[in-house]
């Protein structure tokens, strides 16, 4: 079996962000982390590989040298077998083009399962896994909180509104990871040392035979959302109840 798993870097959501002068991306001294949902996807790939001998795991990222560092440290150091970087400028691609780049890599690698984070916490679109599945004509199981692979099937429990849904999907398939899927492991020192020597391919978009590299959605302006104003501090519970009752008319 072969599993392709995403390793996307994202800016740290707790760090301060500066909007670039053209208003279309962020700039400056941005601190990056591995997308948390990709960490769940990577952990899931490793667990499937551990339970199914002979499974090969491949991490893919789209970006520059910095992204390559995240593929090595976030995926290979944790135990993923090899890495692929597709060179592209993150600010100039949309979810649709990312899905088509993945599709190109899937055609080269022919994995049985593509495991992605359910969403990247920078673009926050929650689209790539679903787009990819449709481009490939594959079944999908998004927002997974439990994945069991047996034979050529995966039984996936999904976090949906109002409860948990379980689907059985035939391989090859696309699975996207939700928060509760697992506890991502830390990379060991030995893992970090080994990661440096693991196979690593660098591809250009041109290598992937895409029909075009046009985007369908473009950011035309970023702004800081107008915040709420702080209200009043009440001195005790009695004052809170009184204000909620007579001023806010909320209880």
């Amino acid at each position: 079996m072969k599993i392709l798993v995403s390793a996307k870097r994202v800016s740290d959501p707790n760090a301060k962000l500066a909007i670039a002068k053209d208003g279309k991306w962020i700039e400056g001294d941005v601190e990056y982390i591995l997308n948390p949902f990709c960490e769940n996807a990577i952990e899931c790939a490793l667990q499937i590989a551990e339970a199914n001998e002979g499974t090969e795991t491949v991490a893919i990222g789209i970006g520059d040298d910095e992204t390559a560092r995240f593929i090595r440290q976030g995926a290979l150091a944790r135990g993923i077998d090899r890495g692929i970087l597709v060179s592209a400028e993150e600010a100039s691609i949309d979810s649709d083009l990312i899905a088509r780049i993945y599709q190109g890599v899937v055609h080269r690698e022919k994995p049985d399962i593509v495991l992605l984070g359910k969403q990247a916490i920078d673009g926050d679109s929650n689209q790539v896994g679903q787009l990819l599945a449709e481009y490939l004509g594959w079944p999908q199981a998004t927002f997974a909180s439990k994945v069991e692979v047996s034979g050529n099937k995966a039984i996936v429990t999904r976090e949906v509104d109002g409860g948990l849904e379980t689907l059985e999907v035939s391989l090859p398939c696309v699975i996207t990871a939700d928060l509760r899927l697992n506890e991502p492991r830390f990379a060991s020192l030995a893992g970090i040392m080994k990661a440096k020597k693991k196979p690593f391919d660098e591809l250009e978009i041109d290598d992937l035979d895409l029909e075009d590299t046009d985007t369908k959605v473009q950011i035309v302006g970023l702004s800081t959302p107008s915040g709420r104003k702080a209200g009043v501090i009440v001195k005790d519970v009695t004052e809170l109840v009184q204000k909620l009752r007579s001023e806010a008319r909320a209880i």
């Binding site: 899905a99 849904e165 035939s170 959605v217 709420r228 209200g231 009440v234 005790d236 809170l240």
Partner: protein
């Protein structure tokens, strides 16, 4: 002139209110750019949902009733939705950004050659769509450059549309879900058994953070009981195992906008604020006055939640007799 197709969200034959929030977006869009809107109702034995939508001014309510559409399997639903959009000449497909909408719409977009914008909170005069990005830290205005467009709508950002009277025709659509060839099988659904209101539709939400530790329910439940409220949680509380994930409110969890929101023993991380800052009245209770949650709260109480919340519960209970 646009023709907008709105995918109705329902639960076992009952229309969900988020459909009407989504309708509000569609009405805004056609008011600005011209055109009309239709509804799409997908499922099995869901004629009642179509009937419930007849009074909302749509050109038509399209009913795709098929045994293979009983569960919202993304590949099957996306195919039928795209087939329907093509057959009626719709150039925009819209659905609420629920887990069903998120699952189905991107596949629909591929079938229509459309660009998709997720989780829209506003529409600009130039036709750009505003959406929260970077965990809610930034708002992005995005343009879709394809002729066909697919949009998921953040329901909490739009007030539910009112009925306008009239009787839209219900039109049966001969759906071909092709589920048999989609290599997916529905196994089971394990619904949350709760007597509380749904988070997305609750008028009041009592939400707890990591600070409540293993007394999460001991603190939040009695207050939620006296208020008839839903219970929510922060990602930190979920991460630490104090609350289940389906209670998680935030940019990557549920997005809510109740009349009254109690934020208890939480710091107010940006990604949580992104999921609740449209609430009408926010009350924060935390013993640390420096927490950012106080910057968005209408009423802040600097107090130990373990003491203050039971007292609050008792006082509200007394008020209500």
């Amino acid at each position: 002139m646009s023709k907008v197709l709105i995918l109705a969200e329902h639960d076992k034959g009952a229309l969900k209110k988020v459909t009407l929030n989504t309708l509000a977006f569609a009405r805004q869009y056609v008011a600005k750019f011209g055109g009309s809107y239709d509804f799409a109702v997908l499922g099995h034995n869901v004629a009642g949902v179509a009937e419930a939508l007849r009074g909302y001014g749509a050109g038509a309510v399209h009913l795709a009733d098929h045994a293979d559409l009983q569960h919202p399997i993304a590949s099957a639903w996306a195919k039928v939705l795209a087939d329907l959009a093509k057959s009626i000449g719709a150039d925009m497909v819209v659905a609420p950004a629920t887990t069903t909408g998120k699952d189905v719409l991107p596949r629909t977009a591929v079938r229509l050659g459309a660009g998709m914008a997720s989780d829209i909170i506003a529409l600009t005069d130039s036709g750009a769509f505003a959406r929260p990005m970077w965990a809610g830290n930034l708002t992005g205005n995005v343009k879709i450059s394809t002729a066909n467009k697919v949009i998921s709508v953040r329901a909490s950002a739009f007030d539910a549309a009112e009925a306008t009277g009239g009787q839209s025709p219900v039109v049966a659509f001969a759906a071909d879900p092709a589920l048999a060839s989609s290599r997916v099988k529905f196994v089971s659904f394990d619904g949350v058994q709760s007597t509380r209101p749904d988070l997305a539709e609750a008028a009041t939400i009592v939400s707890g953070g990591r600070g409540l530790k293993d007394r999460f329910y001991a603190v939040t439940e009695p207050l939620a009981d006296v208020l008839g409220a839903a219970i929510g949680a922060t990602r930190a509380a979920v991460d630490d195992g104090y609350a289940p994930n389906d209670l998680q409110i935030g940019q990557t969890g549920k997005v809510v906008a109740p009349q009254l929101y109690f934020a208890i023993a939480m710091s107010g991380a940006v990604q949580h604020l992104a999921g609740m800052k449209n609430s009408k009245v926010i009350v924060a209770i935390n013993k640390n006055p420096d927490e950012p949650i106080f910057k968005v709260a209408d009423y802040g109480l600097i107090a130990d939640a373990f003491v203050a919340v039971p007292e609050l519960t008792a006082q509200i209970k007394a008020l209500r007799g």
